[in-house]
Symmetry: none
Subunit: 408 residues, 2 copies
């Protein structure tokens, strides 16, 4: 039996007075999600543990059966894997911005006038950089002003500070070691050289000379941040004996899937926003389902609307997911379907919170409870009770008769 | 946003046939607690874990975010801190009784005729004792026949037996080491000397000569028990970045708060019984709330009524708390209020049991469920589901927007 975990990123919310004490999910018309609730077993889930404010990354790791307290070293490694760098355990990976500085290294624009074109050429130049005999530099542009940097070699550490000052009109920061180890000092010195060198290489780069001519700020420096050592994740497919794929919109989630050894199926017209192409996403889900045992799907827009504090947008996007995506998946009868969120992003908070999320599991043989509506409060009365993200894979494997008996 | 955790000690109970299968909390009229249930999110909580019979001390430690299996070494350290001894990590602390023995060290009265006066003078004499060059003896009277003893110095251990035989008409026990270490043997020898010396110093003490003249038994010996090494608790205020205070009636809870680094606000007319001064307690809560971010409140009488097996007394005391205390706290709108018990003390058992306790959290933004009554059974249908004591601080910090995101 095939399995889908369908994660509507940040879908869960908190009630507000202005909206008649309803969450966007409660206010939304979701006949298809409700049908799944009616035909399945419902509950609430703490992605990690009650009250813990999780990121999308730590939540997904937990749901996939990894202990985020052991494997999560920062966002860098997952972002790097997400843009397609073939990172290896032990690499140190950073998120980077193409930015604009003046000759004194004061940051004028952290996003280099929101540069969109030519970053591939700039990245090519950066990639040619050679700083230390034994340290390989792998640099790759991502969307817009974003990029990733990977350092590969011996004696590297992620115990270092950021070069990115995070605000404008401040000087680029000296990267400092966070402990007394040789590795931290060595890595900090490499990073400092990398940043200075990026300026030398980019300052008069043809792409930038053209930008200046056009009245745009040059992308004349690379600012790394959020460095983390690439963790060694046990291969998901081998661990669970599942041929697994991921359909996601953001590099972060694709990166987690890649590091876990899953195939990543890209949907070129997916934007990660509420304007995303849900039709293409659901088509990809249905066509991929034929070829795999297990699908992890992440649809991102509800989280974005939550971060923007936009109740109506969040509600309407949930309704659209229900109409376009859930209505189709509903027809796949002989599968184990898990519908949930990775965390709560209340429009009233505009950030993630530690509340549990609703979850429903529809699967042949599952104990059907009497919940008939899919939302945060209805789910809490369901037959699953309150579970953790780390329980999900065990429950799925059991329901699809894939797990080994422990004991006699 | 300010937080109150209001713990009605031992409030939870089990149903009995004699009381129409109702618990005292179910039988009690509690319109104000019910209002909080209606406006909040409800659930049941295992102070440590399902079925574990906790003490008030281990339960409070767990609720405050400490692992009682790591930090709880016995009641002595918390009692000592509770009576105001400035205990330090590594000290060995004991609960003691002033008792009456005959010349053969047979215990005639473990409570020395329930002595109430003059124990401060007796304690002064005991405090002058000097047994070993490097071991400091700190002794302080508590209420009635109770006192605490603290040994401070190098090479001390809490792996020793009690001197107190716990029953009358038996000889005072030789304190014995519980392991083969030098420290245990050394501490046992000090304790034995301490007990003998206490008899020498108190036998003809003017307070005792006066007692004998008045026909009362003399408090002529000190019997230590429940020794424990003072644990090093991470400072609560620093750990959670909260200015925190505790309002409690018993030394045990005050001691936990002091060892955790919280301020302790005493209510002089609080008795710890069902005859306590609830009006003064609620006034102190409201006036203290202005000056702190976080209040831990413990009201003790319901536990006492439970230990006494008195259903009516427990029920009526709960009703009085509802009328006098909860009615006022109900009006503090912009706070995060947690109402719960630390454990179950069934009148049918007359001791603590391992049942979960009802809990309600009322806080702006919280997901309101449809529970409308505060009791053991209604709470179990609430939106919180079943949580643990150790979840509470994480949930509060999240609801009041104080926690850091783990991940991106």
């Amino acid at each position: 039996m095939k399995c889908i975990i369908l994660i509507i990123d940040g879908m869960a919310d908190r009630p507000t007075k202005e909206n008649d004490y309803k969450t966007p999910l409660q206010a939304a018309k979701t006949p298809n999600m409700d049908k799944i609730a009616e035909e399945g077993i419902n509950g609430i889930m703490d992605p990690i543990s009650p009250g813990i404010r999780v990121g999308s990354d730590t939540a997904h790791l937990s749901i996939l059966g990894y202990d985020p307290y052991k494997v999560y070293t920062g966002r860098g490694p997952f972002e790097a894997a997400g843009v397609g760098v073939d990172v290896k355990p032990g690499d140190i990976a950073f998120r980077c911005n193409f930015a604009t500085v003046d000759e004194n290294f004061v940051v004028l624009d952290r996003r280099a006038d929101r540069i969109r074109e030519g970053t591939d050429k700039l990245a090519e130049t950066i990639n040619s950089m050679k700083l230390e005999e034994d340290v390989e530099i792998i640099f790759k542009e991502s969307t817009g002003h974003r990029a990733v940097l990977v350092l590969r070699g011996e004696n590297l550490s992620d115990k270092i500070t950021d070069a990115d000052p995070k605000v404008e009109n401040k000087r680029v920061k000296d990267v400092k070691p966070l402990d007394d180890s040789f590795e931290a000092k060595f890595t900090a010195s490499i990073l400092n050289k990398f940043v200075k060198n990026s300026y030398k290489l980019l300052e008069k780069h043809p792409i930038n000379l053209k930008r200046i001519k056009e009245g745009k700020k040059p992308a004349n420096i690379i600012l790394p941040r959020g460095g983390g050592k690439v963790p060694s994740l046990e291969n998901f497919c081998e661990k669970y004996n599942l041929k697994a794929a991921c359909i996601a919109e953001t590099g972060l989630i694709m990166g987690i899937a890649r590091l876990a050894g899953m195939d990543v199926i890209e949907v070129p017209t997916a934007t990660g926003g509420t304007d995303t192409d849900l039709n293409s996403i659901v088509k990809t889900i249905l066509s991929t389902l034929d070829k795999y045992d297990f699908l992890l799907v992440n649809i991102d827009g509800a989280d974005e609307a939550g971060h923007d504090g936009n109740f109506e947008e969040k509600k309407e996007f949930i309704e659209r997911i229900d109409e376009v995506v859930i209505s189709k998946i509903l027809n796949c009868e002989d599968i184990c379907l898990v519908l949930t969120a990775d965390h709560t992003t209340p429009v009233s908070v505009k950030d993630h919170t530690g509340d549990p999320v609703p979850i429903v599991i529809r699967c042949p043989g599952v104990r059907i409870d009497d919940v008939k509506r899919f939302d945060e409060i209805s789910a809490s009365k369901g037959g699953l009770g309150r579970i953790k993200g780390s329980d999900i894979m065990n429950i799925i494997l059991d329901l699809t008769n894939r797990s080994e008996k422990f004991g006699a």
